[in-house]
């Protein structure tokens, strides 16, 4: 008797429990949340996903977090194994953590089965989607391609008097610089403190990854790299070319950077340009729309764009920005499925074309090669060219410990003027070695 009633109780408890546990899972997904940084492309995405709502009835919300705290917010959610968002459009460096620590859902099967991995350019798939590099395992669909490029003042470059003066001084025509040395010359030429004009505004900010990104453009083009395939840093990170690259970056800062750019990132370089202080500025392509708009840039009409110059041996690289969209591993299966469906929709050629037309930087091969894309914005030609020679900072899970070390070593030398370029790079090696040793990459 007693056993029976216990049994009955247990069954009732099970049923009740399954109703409670099961009911939210069984409910149809009506809303998807995507977390991204607070910037214009997120607005574009919010506009684009209205089409998805009309088509499927599922409301998609793009949660925007300020850049400075975007990473911390997402990581806090990971720490709580939280399901506050379904998808994250995360930085390329996060892939290692997302993949190895189980925060991202693996997309390999989904992307290969539907042929999605073939619709995007190989470089973007490698940097925004694949981890470990070369493994063929995918964790994100390349969403917003981005890289460093340059904006310049065409009115200054095309001024006949300037052209003549430049030719007299340097013995060649003034034009878009082909190499870093030429860029330095042009920057020096336009630096006129008495007139409030300076040659070039570059990234110098110590937070997150700014100065590393800016320096990488020169560093990779001069044959430097963070480490070789065996994680050997000696002679690679501090090679002769790397030292020269860092010296050039510092010279560019000391000779030709507008005052006040000692801690500058995308906003500061854009500000230097729109206030008329800089003849050329380095920035991510994603921040150029503000320069192409005459309401935010009084030189908009005469603003031109070019991609990164070459190193002395013809090597050419641009530091990679941009993000891929990944699925949060902590949401339930129904929401995962709904997220897969969304990405499948998003990856279609016509949706990607509309994404590009709204101002998003698609990674879709077809769209990138289309005339329609080149016509959308004045800088898209330079962007399409740049995306063929991009290269990124390391994305192993230890990147988080390595990045601040590199940031502060580079900032000390470039802005603070402490020590030599060789010492700065040697310091990075010295501080990185124990980290890579602990993680087992090197002995």
């Amino acid at each position: 008797m007693f056993k029976k009633s216990l049994f009955l109780l247990a069954i009732i408890a099970l049923v009740v429990a399954s109703v409670f546990v099961g009911s939210p899972a069984r409910a149809a997904v009506t809303e998807l949340k995507i977390i991204w940084a607070q910037w214009a492309p997120a607005d574009f995405l919010q506009t684009l996903v209205q089409d998805y709502e009309t088509k499927t009835g599922i409301k998609v919300t793009v949660i925007q977090e300020p850049w400075g705290t975007f990473g911390d917010r997402v990581a806090a959610e990971w720490a709580a194994n939280g399901d506050a968002f379904d998808m994250v459009i995360g930085d390329s460096q996060w892939l290692g953590q997302g993949a190895t620590q189980g925060h991202y859902v693996e997309l390999t099967e989904f992307m290969t089965a539907r042929g999605i991995e073939k619709t995007v350019t190989p470089a973007t798939l490698q940097y925004y989607g694949e981890y470990p590099p070369g493994s063929g395992k995918y964790w994100a669909y390349p969403t917003e391609g981005d890289a460093n490029g340059w904006a310049y003042r065409m009115d200054l470059f095309n001024d006949p008097a300037e052209k003549e003066a430049f030719k007299a001084q340097y013995g060649r025509d003034l034009g878009i610089p082909e190499t870093w040395d030429e860029l330095l010359e042009v920057a020096k030429f336009f630096t006129r403190p008495d007139k409030g004009l300076y040659g070039a505004a570059i990234y110098t900010q110590i937070d997150y990854d700014a100065i590393v990104m800016g320096f990488q453009n020169v560093f990779f083009s001069y044959g430097g790299d963070w480490y070789d395939e065996n994680f050997n840093m000696e002679g690679v990170l501090n090679s002769e070319g790397a030292v020269k690259a860092l010296e050039l970056y510092r010279e560019l800062y000391t000779c030709c950077s507008p005052p006040g750019l000692s801690n500058a990132f995308f906003q500061e370089t854009n500000d230097a340009f729109t206030s008329g202080q800089a003849a050329m500025i380095m920035n991510y392509f994603a921040f150029f729309p503000a320069l192409a708009n005459s309401a935010t840039n009084r030189f908009a009409e005469s603003t031109g764009y070019f991609s990164m110059p070459k190193g002395p041996d013809g090597l050419r690289f641009a530091a990679l920005g941009g993000q891929g969209i990944s699925i949060n591993a902590y949401i339930n299966d129904e929401r995962k499925q709904a997220s897969f469906d969304f990405i499948e929709w998003f990856a279609q050629d016509d949706v990607q074309l509309k994404w590009a037309q709204l101002g998003g930087y698609t990674c879709n091969i077809e769209v990138l090669n289309s005339q329609a894309f080149l016509d959308v914005a004045p800088f898209n030609a330079a962007f399409a060219e740049t995306m063929t020679f991009v290269k990124d900072f390391t994305n192993i899970p230890e990147y988080g410990a390595m990045l601040p070390i590199a940031q502060s070593a580079l900032h000390s030398y470039v802005v603070g003027g402490q020590g030599t370029a060789k010492e700065a790079l040697d310091n990075i090696i010295a501080e990185w070695t124990p980290i890579l040793q602990d993680a087992g990459y090197i002995q």
């Binding site: 990473g71 911390d72 990581a75 990971w78 720490a79 194994n81 460096q93 953590q97 620590q101 189980g102 925060h103 403190p193 008495d194 409030g196 900010q205 110590i206 937070d207 997150y208 507008p258 005052p259 006040g260 000692s262 801690n263 206030s275 202080q277 990147y399 988080g400 410990a401 990045l403 601040p404 502060s408 070593a409 900032h411 000390s412 030398y413 802005v415 603070g416 402490q418």
Partner: protein, 310 residues
Amino acid sequence: MTALTQAAPTQAKQRAQRRHMSDGALVRLFIFPTLIILILWNVFPLFYSLYLSFTRYSVIANRAPEWIGFSNYTAILSRPTFWQSFATTGVYALLSVGLQTVLGFSLAMLLRQKFKGSGFITTLTLIPMMLSPVVVGMFWKLIYNPSYGIFNFLLNPTNPRLATDMLANPVSAMLAVVIVDVWMWTPFVMLLCLSGLNAIPDYLYEAAAIDRASAWFQFRRITLPQVAPLLLIAVLFRTIEAIKAFDLMMGLTGGGPGKSTETVSIALYRLAFSGQFNTGQASALAYIVLIIIICISNVYIRYLNKLRGE
């Protein structure tokens, strides 16, 4: 008057008070809510991070904490960059709290005697303190901008371009941060000093004036000792806050150039967040900071009690 001052509560009197109600019940009623709330909200974070400080753990790694004893502490203490950040914090706290104390006290002395509109002026000077530190950090970046900021413009209105970028040089960057902190928090010290000053009875000065005591004597023997307790509380809290300083420096310099303004709190933030998420080591560093603050506070409090005891 003297009779009143010396009238200390005697045991008999205290017993007499209990007639009306139980003092013990009153004390419990008054203190327990505070203590309970503090315990509820602090015990978990405090002990959890203490435990984590002895483990290898990253909050985002999806791996259980692994007990490693004092390794985190030895790792931190053997790293020269951390000593450097402690030194930076010390310089920063000393400079900014020192200046705030001197300026705040002087300002209070100036505003002590009422004049027409003095109440209004005093309240106006409190405004910097009311601003959000995040906004202050960002906004002073605009003020310090060598091209379109007003700082250099006011220093050298004819040719502001000649002035330097305060935030680009290791020494001037520290100075720049100290200036902002002093600007923001001097009113805090000033207000507490003013309350203390207003409490000093006039007859003390009268007696001194009749005795023809020098102004310096009046200051040393009357003003200073009377204000000291409140001044010390102000300085104690400013010191604690200066050691923990984060928002302002993050907004203004991000710890740069290089590491020249990187205080312990910024080093801590870099360890605990921003991609590293080395929770174990960050907790250990936090506890080291906590121990330092406890030691410094103890010195202050002892001094405070000594002042009060006399």
